[in-house]
């Protein structure tokens, strides 16, 4: 297990590229291979998390060194590429593994052979590898490379249904936004390299003094990552992408968007956490987050297409996370840490609830052939499991008390109120509107005067949805356990743990 961090990235890459070869031999061998790869990634990712949370110090894995534990620096200058997994990275790894595993399990049954199942599974594994690399890397350029791997895999998945007219259009739009965002990040990486001659995040973080070039780099990084996260005003691609992508991919796309939020946290709190820790950045992110929440919920109110409706719900949840990051950047410590805990906890809750809703929408599309709310209705009787799952996911998304969404949103409201009551009030209001949106969607899909017949979903798809439903219940009933064991250390790692992060990489 010494090599677990790199194996968690390498195994899905190998899995992705070997899957089409195996499919030439035998379709069942390919399915077994994909499952085995998924299982291996889960084992490695969980091993990383267990070790990092157990020892309480970041795990530094040096690439290209005689041994992975070798020192990164030589004469105080980092010469090798590193993977650095702290408590937050480990937590994000778990979220990514969860989303990827559920997506794979669902995809194995969701896709039909004539729809190019092999390539769909390959792309899913590739996206998975990209997300894991993004959350594990400790090197700024590596970070850009993984960002582009996720962009390319994600867009290929969004435009997957090329035989329809809408998916390629959504994919083109998304690709344009992702590429522009990626280029902004690349320019920022170049600026920081030009200023300090290094790409190691910990080393750069130590050298940053707050010069004009560094401010420009911070602005470019935030701009690029916000485009990728789908914050208003750069959110236009998100509903198209989520609405048109095949359902098994949307779960992983949600994790991909959260990886961008993770990157924003890393940039604001670790990379620029020293000299440029200004509250102004926090206010900017918090206001953008609030605007995102309210705009997305209002847009969700008027949607007819079930996928797009859930997609706007997903965008609004990104707004809540940004609000939490912003509040935490306004006050680093105190209620800022509460906000960060809320924001980080909201990631896994969002992956579970939004992911579940997308999977149910996919099951409906597979069964009935359409997700237009005007034509749906009365499916509650024939799709009994699906309707139950949808209700659970919808209530969790709206933040109804016994479910998981409430626990994290409450932390965000509470801390946002201490920063600015107006932001908190808008966030609460949006949550109530969101409840109206999801109830309407549930009513329009499953209830109605005439019961409608629909073929049942394959068992594997129901199992994948069941995993997420179970997760929603467990997270909602025992939030204290997860907050204490997983989320608390992750929030600490960002604020007080910055010194430990730098020390783990640079020594001393």
């Amino acid at each position: 297990m010494v090599h677990a961090p790199i194996l968690a990235i390498a195994v899905p890459l190998l899995g992705a590229f070997a899957a089409p070869l195996l499919a030439k031999l035998d379709k069942r061998a390919r399915d077994a291979w994909v499952l085995a790869a998924g299982l291996a990634v889960a084992v490695f990712g969980i091993a990383v998390a267990v070790k990092v949370l157990g020892t309480g110090t970041p795990w530094v894995y040096t690439l290209g060194a005689p041994s992975p534990g070798a020192a990164v620096t030589q004469g105080g200058f980092p010469i090798r590429i590193v993977l650095v997994v702290d408590a937050l990275g480990a937590f994000m790894g778990i979220v990514a593994i969860l989303a990827g595993a559920v997506g794979l399990l669902y995809g194995l049954h969701y896709l039909r052979e004539e729809e190019g199942k092999t390539l769909g599974l390959s792309l899913l594994l590739l996206l998975w590898a990209g997300i894991l690399g993004l959350v594990y890397t400790g090197d700024l350029f590596n970070f850009f490379v993984f960002l582009e791997i996720t962009s390319i895999a994600a867009c290929a998945l969004i435009g997957y249904r090329v035989w329809e007219s809408r998916p390629p259009e959504a994919a083109f739009k998304t690709m344009t936004m992702y590429t522009l965002g990626g280029l902004l990040v690349l320019v920022a990486v170049g600026l920081l390299y030009g200023e300090h001659g290094a790409l190691n995040i910990a080393y750069l973080s130590k050298l940053i003094t707050g010069s004009a070039v560094e401010r420009l780099a911070l602005g470019l990084l935030l701009g690029g990552l916000l485009m990728k996260a789908g914050a208003v005003p750069a959110h236009m691609w998100a509903p198209d992408a989520y609405g048109e992508a095949p359902a098994m991919a949307t779960v992983v796309l949600v994790a991909n968007t959260q990886a961008s939020i993770y990157a924003i946290m890393r940039v604001v709190f670790t990379l620029f956490g020293g000299a440029l820790a200004r509250p102004g950045i926090g206010w900017l992110i918090a206001s953008l987050g609030t605007v995102t929440v309210i705009v997305a919920v209002l847009m969700a109110l008027i949607q007819r297409h079930l996928g797009r409706l859930i997609a706007y719900g997903a965008v609004s949840q990104i707004g809540y996370m940004l609000l939490a990051v912003g509040v935490a950047a306004v006050a680093r410590g105190g209620f800022g840490e509460v906000a960060l805990r809320g924001g980080i906890f909201h990631m896994i809750n969002d992956a579970a609830s939004v992911g579940l809703l997308f999977l149910v929408a996919g099951a409906i599309r597979r069964a009935v052939g359409s997700v237009d709310l005007m034509g749906l209705g009365g499916l509650g009787r024939s799709l009994r499991w699906e309707s139950g799952f949808f209700l659970l996911g919808a209530l969790a998304l709206a933040g109804i008390p016994p479910l998981n969404g409430f626990a994290s949103k409450f932390l965000i409201y509470e801390s946002a109120f201490r920063a600015s009551p107006i932001l908190s009030a808008i966030a609460v209001l949006a949550s109530i509107l969101l409840l109206a949106v999801v109830v309407r969607a549930f009513h329009g899909t499953f209830l109605g005067p005439e019961p409608k017949e629909a073929p049942p979903s394959p068992k594997g798809m129901l199992v994948a949805m069941g995993v997420l439903a179970l997760l929603i219940l467990v997270l909602g009933l025992f939030p204290g356990f997860f907050l204490g064991r997983l989320v608390g250390p992750a929030a600490k790692a960002l604020l007080a743990g910055r010194a430990a992060y730098l020390a783990a990489v640079l020594g001393g």
Binding site: G159, T179, L180, L183, Y193, G194
Partner: protein, 115 residues
């Protein structure tokens, strides 16, 4: 004269953005993105240029010679070019599919996804 490459790269980025804002043909949008990419790549290469520097191979260096070029920016640029190739290929593939469905490349007419 030392800043000329940076000015050129910023001009390329500006030209690319101009194309993205003013053009409606999908192929031209893809060209705009590629031009921006080239501007960024030129910026990266210019960052790594050292006047009178030599390749960082110790056996080639004359004794006492200090002006070696760190190869990192070149490596970055090569990687960025490869990624750009993949992005462009994917964009063009989507354009081909969109054209097959709609018979037009005008971004203004291909607006099924709105609101």
């Amino acid at each position: 004269m030392g800043n000329l490459p940076f000015v050129a790269s910023m001009m390329l980025v500006a030209i690319g953005f101009l194309a993205l804002i003013t053009r409606r043909n999908l192929i031209k949008l893809a060209i705009g993105i590629t031009v921006i990419e080239m501007g960024v790549n030129l910026f990266l290469v210019s960052l790594g240029y050292v006047r009178g520097g030599i390749a960082p191979v110790y056996t080639y260096a004359p004794p006492g010679f200090k002006q070696m070029v760190l190869p990192t920016p070149q490596a970055l640029t090569l990687t960025a070019i490869v990624i750009g190739l993949a992005t462009t290929a994917l964009l063009l593939a989507f354009i081909v599919v969109i054209y097959r469905h709609r018979g037009t490349l005008d971004a203004g007419k291909i607006r099924e996804l709105r609101g």
